[in-house]
Symmetry: D2
């Protein structure tokens, strides 16, 4: 029997799900028209329209950073402003990709304790920007992360209220869904309800963390926003010659519920882990809505776990907390035994 897995560093360290590898093998027969003129890519559009119950335009790309940057380019001009959470991946982890792709649009960070931005935060900075006229970047869009960077999940009502406020000001609404499947499991609603019915205009839908080799999708629920997408994707170097292999991954994930099954595994393990930590008297920083657990670990505990080979990231502690913080991420390829082994090690070290 194999040793328990000791890395809770990220869901990016995972392999492909077997179903994804099978899909790559299955489409690896003969030739196919390149650059997206293939059957898998056609099927992806069909599949997405069924799944989201609406007309839409869907484009596969390789990375979440590319998905976000290209999505934002469709809704923010070079002189535009994009509101997002201060800790949003687009603001802190993409080395300026949104600024690069949009030609210089500005991210205007909003703050909150739980990683969510709120409708009430928009009116004042938008009014200020309007007053400033051409001297200020022009409010163009908001971007929310679902699940958030703190592992929390917006309720449908929260999304709808935020999107309504944005739309009332003429702003477009982007959702960074790098962990959209994990949020879906939590919300237990239809993909349509989670997105366009709640006011989302464009979604970055992640699959890489949830079983794909390297595949994300940009989905426009207002297809007219997609007008320039294909050229922007091409000049970003993100149009695969053999697009069938990109689309096939997404089809494998979305086509038979794999994305939700995988996310459910991860979420359930995160809940198990969270409950176990609380049982050990360890404080959680946030509700565990998806597959990430943020916990206050004493420094000696961190050292003890690392000494045993456990891996995880320390996280900047929020103001007022006088303890190191760790992020523990579960994933589709983990088992209960992996979680239990960590909990056991914590108990012994405490």
């Amino acid at each position: 029997m194999s040793q328990a897995r000791r890395s809770f560093a990220s869901d990016t360290i995972t392999p492909m799900a077997p179903e994804v590898l099978d899909a790559l093998a299955r489409v690896n027969l003969g030739t196919a028209h390149s650059y997206g003129e293939d059957a898998e890519t056609t099927r992806l559009t069909t599949l997405a329209r069924e799944l989201f119950e609406t007309e839409l335009a869907i484009f596969p790309v390789t990375t979440g950073t590319a998905a976000n940057a290209l999505a934002l380019t469709a809704i923010a001009p070079p002189f535009g402003a994009i509101f997002c959470h201060r800790l949003a991946h687009i603001n802190t982890d993409e080395c300026g990709a949104p600024e690069f792709y949009t030609g210089g649009a500005k991210l205007l960070p909003l703050d909150s304790a739980d990683g969510k931005i709120r409708a009430a935060q928009l009116a004042a900075p938008i009014a200020h920007a309007r007053e400033m006229g051409v001297h200020h970047v022009k409010p163009a869009a908001i971007s929310l992360s679902q699940a958030t960077e703190w592992g929390t999940v917006y309720t449908l009502a929260e999304v709808a209220s935020l999107a309504a406020e944005a739309h009332a000001h003429g702003l477009a609404v982007h959702m960074d869904g790098a962990r959209f499947a994990n949020a879906m499991v939590r919300l237990d609603c239809t993909p349509a309800a989670a997105t366009w019915k709640s006011g989302i205009d464009v979604l970055s839908l992640g699959a890489t963390k949830n079983g794909a080799l390297a595949a994300e999708a940009v989905i426009f629920f207002k297809p007219e926003l997609a007008r320039d997408f294909e050229r922007n994707r091409k000049r970003g170097g993100h149009l695969w010659a053999k697009t069938r292999f990109l689309s096939a991954q997404l089809n494998a994930c979305l086509g038979n519920g794999l994305w939700l099954r995988n996310a459910r595994i991860a979420n359930t393990l995160a809940t198990r882990l969270a409950q176990g930590l609380e049982g050990c008297g360890i404080a959680l920083l946030q509700p565990v809505d998806a597959n990430e657990v943020f916990a206050a670990f004493p420094a000696p505990l961190i050292a003890a776990l690392r000494a045993q080979g456990f891996e995880f990231y320390e996280w900047p502690a929020p103001p007022g907390l006088n303890s190191p913080v760790v992020r523990l991420v579960t994933a589709f390829d983990m088992r209960e035994a992996d979680v239990d082994a960590l909990l056991e090690a914590i108990r012994q070290a405490s």
Copy 2:
């Protein structure tokens, strides 16, 4: 027995080579550190250094457009000029990716009948640019395609002479090697001789057309040029979370000679096709040095072949030629029977 393959449209329509799929399956076990901190990526550097017999920095990316744009960004400032052939892929087929990534650098096209640029073409425009001072973009680099967009291959002496002239003017030298393996087969020399020993500073090394799923490499033979590469790659959205799957493809291609074996198949079939065409009295436009054949096809022949399901692109005819031109591309996954079937169809249609 399967029907002969009828598409000579491109080497981008090919599947993965079986060895590449095997490699993906092989590394699809357990976790691996993400973003390139994995064993496959380490091995890629080792392998490339052995293969090219020198210190170098190698970075895997997904597409040839990304490889070229990122390579050029390392050697041309936003106000720089890059000399290339008028028909270079970077000038005509990448939707402005080099301009996008470099922040606005300008491609200055040079012309020639055979797709090669020549040392003698550089002095005059460089002198002119220098005279113009700050009013003109600053000559920064040249980019040559090996093999060229006309399917020809520069001799080592041609590369060396061009690179020496560029260096004499302080310009860096980029090689677009989307079909570098095909050129290597033709040149029958060491990779070192074909590149840095001939004056190449940075190489885009293609694998996608030659057996990979989606993998190219940017190789800096002057590692100091790579200083900003990783951040530019990240903000271009080209850093894979699961980089092991990108590196594994390249390792499969480069590690045991697969790249040359595959290219040899393609080149040999192209030669067979070219000889067959000449046997049919059809004029070739260029020497067939690699895996592309450019031929003057009468319009009725084109129609007849298309009616039978053959696929290929028509190409802009060079000045003075009063006939349609077609491009026929062979690839590693084709057989002699495929070529012979096309030749037979031509004979019958003529």
Copy 3:
């Protein structure tokens, strides 16, 4: 009596016209709202609408490079293509400003002996671009220089035919009018006829070479194209705090015919110079339609004139001409005596 002026280098070496200095002094009283909310700027719009007999949006900027780059940004997306003459100022003399401002749009150069581009040159490259789809930059605009960089002036019929062809393909039409006044004098028509009635969508109207301190105007004859102009101007750093001083220059030039009077002086002197050169047996390279004379000067003549302090630029000789070429520029602040002194020096040196 003052010595004859010996520089024919450029019309950029000129001082302000006295009327422009007077205008600066006149508006230098008390305060005025900044950033264009002033009476001079309002008057500029009124004046331009009267002069061009149409609704339009006019924006003053400082330099011709800024005017061109900002005008092109309004009509070409980052992935767009702009057709222009190979020798167009935007292609050779602005250090990549159009690429910078548009976010990477590509200038596609067309060639001709007289500096003019022609309707018949557009169809083929546009058709090619369309065929290439997302792989190729998207044809978005043409830019013609009036007067051209060879000192020639498009006839109204030439402009109209070129613009009609561009519009038929969905392209917008920009006119670089750095020497528009000189062209107007030649054409002897209304400003409306020279521009929007001939199909011009946006004009860079130069005043700096013709008497201003530093003032050009971008005029949109389809005001909806101006939608983003003000923000692009601001982020380019081209919105003056004290815009009244910019608008006042243009009002001084345009308001009472000064621009045409000044241009007529320059054109008349150029004609006098051209006739004098022909009288000396010196070949002209182009018809002298405006205020620039291109002539084949033997190298000893060039040396002799330079030795006497005459200044002018040598120009790249067109293919087939086996002689140095010089450009001689006249301007509003020159006198017949200046021209005659040069001619006399040529006669003595010959």
Copy 4:
């Protein structure tokens, strides 16, 4: 006798100082080499070196936005981060010019009550960025405004401490000196002490608000940082053909102490205004170190003053203040009577 001036909106509403107009007239004689090859521009360098007592490179440009954006481009790569105050002009009033010119660098805002950033604010975000590696923009520079956007002036010790901390982390130091002259008057030190001796690497030195038509200077105290400046300026459209008129303005301001005389007038009037307001029982928000006064005005007072034609901007109130805030700006062209008239109106309205 003329009516008291009623606008305290900004120092951008001012005319030219008479000495600047005289300088324009003085250099408006005959021809001069264009694009900066003129005697006035040469003199500007000499003058600046004398004034700042060091080698330096100085470049005149038209606007403060251009000066800042071009200065930052010299010290921050496209993937770089620039720390500045949340309310810095570059962050809020330039419509994204720094992002545009740098090719997408990111401004990382720091906050404080008095408009100053402090050395102690740098270490944590720099450490975080370093940990994040290529995922995060790379700390490259800081930018401080002297005087600040709250009208306060950094002491020399504050500047030195901030610059030392930045340098210790390898960051370059930019000073936005749109109101540098006003700060100089406050500091009463040499220009050298206020800048490079305190660790400033590059200065945007404003003249427009202080008497010029439209002139600012970018001064590099480490001339090697200026390497690419001239091309970046050209492609930004900021190289004047008739640069003599730009340099002449700066020479008029800097050459005989005009900049300090003018700034002293403005500062003295601001102090007079501040004292008068306090005499009326009106609270000031900040120390009045330069020529801007921020005060808490009851809404009825604002209305009453506006009804009499007084002009000024309302400002976003800082957290915790429950009153409208106004900004009152004095300038070189105002008189004590103007200030006294406002104070009298306030007394009567209260």
